[in-house]
């Protein structure tokens, strides 16, 4: 079945450094949607960005990601980390095999230090 892998459970960075959170996925369907959700402490998880188009960069709130179907990856990046970026980030997959349900990765906690 489908799966999403986020290898890093915790990423700790100094403010101002670039951010890259890894996400790889497995699916037999070619029309999968990939998502990044962000969960700030004491808030609800919310959508950060999404894509289904191969090799197209998607941007939102300073973050960007590019879906690469050839490598089954959808890494989240930001050029310069801010303290306010500290949160739990989930990569997720949706396709017809799972009737459109979101399959979430294990999550990566991003901690930004001054």
């Amino acid at each position: 079945g489908d799966s999403v892998t986020q290898k890093e459970g915790l990423v700790t960075l100094t403010e101002g450094l670039p951010v890259m959170l890894n996400c790889t996925y497995q699916t037999i369907y070619s029309n999968a949607f990939l998502f990044w959700y962000v969960h700030y402490l004491n808030e609800s998880p919310r959508l950060l960005l999404k894509s289904s188009t191969d090799n197209k960069r998607t941007e939102h709130q300073g973050f960007h990601a590019t879906l690469h179907k050839s490598s089954s990856s959808f890494h989240l990046q930001k050029s310069s980390a801010q303290l306010s970026d500290s949160a739990l980030y989930y990569c997720a997959l949706s396709d017809l095999y799972n009737q459109g349900k979101l399959i979430f990765g294990q999550g990566t906690k991003l901690s930004i230090k001054p």
């Binding site: 949607f33 998502f35 609800s44 998880p45 959508l47 989930y90 009737q99 349900k101 979430f104 294990q106």
Partner: protein
């Protein structure tokens, strides 16, 4: 404003106790979901529903029942709570996934402690 509202925000119960978690959405979404969030496991799907009266089994259903009474209301039931069910529970709603835009709207979560 469209929203997903969960209650209670926090709940403590004893082992073997009976717990009901409530979720109401005002998004006019057909699909609703219950997830649990645990460190190292991320968000895991317990049960979900396509509409009133419909129930589908998720990935970690053991020990949980659910009921969708209306389009708006989705309940998660723990009839014999165990310490392993101590977790943060999220409800979410979405439009039909077949549109390809499975954006979820999440509730604020219910933190459950089983002692």
């Amino acid at each position: 404003e469209a929203a997903v509202t969960q209650s209670p925000r926090n709940k403590v119960t004893v082992t073997g106790g009976n717990v009901t978690l409530s979720c109401r959405q005002t998004n006019s979404h057909n699909y609703m979901y219950w997830y649990r969030q645990d460190t190292g496991h991320g968000l895991r799907l317990i049960h979900y529903s396509y509409g009133a009266g419909n129930l589908q089994i998720g990935d970690v259903p053991d020990g949980y029942k659910a009921t969708r009474t209306t389009q708006e209301d989705f309940f998660l039931l723990l009839e014999l709570a165990s310490p392993s069910q101590t977790s943060l529970y999220f409800c979410a709603s979405s439009h039909s996934p077949w549109t390809g835009h499975s954006d979820y709207t999440f509730g604020s979560g219910t933190r459950l402690l089983v002692i």
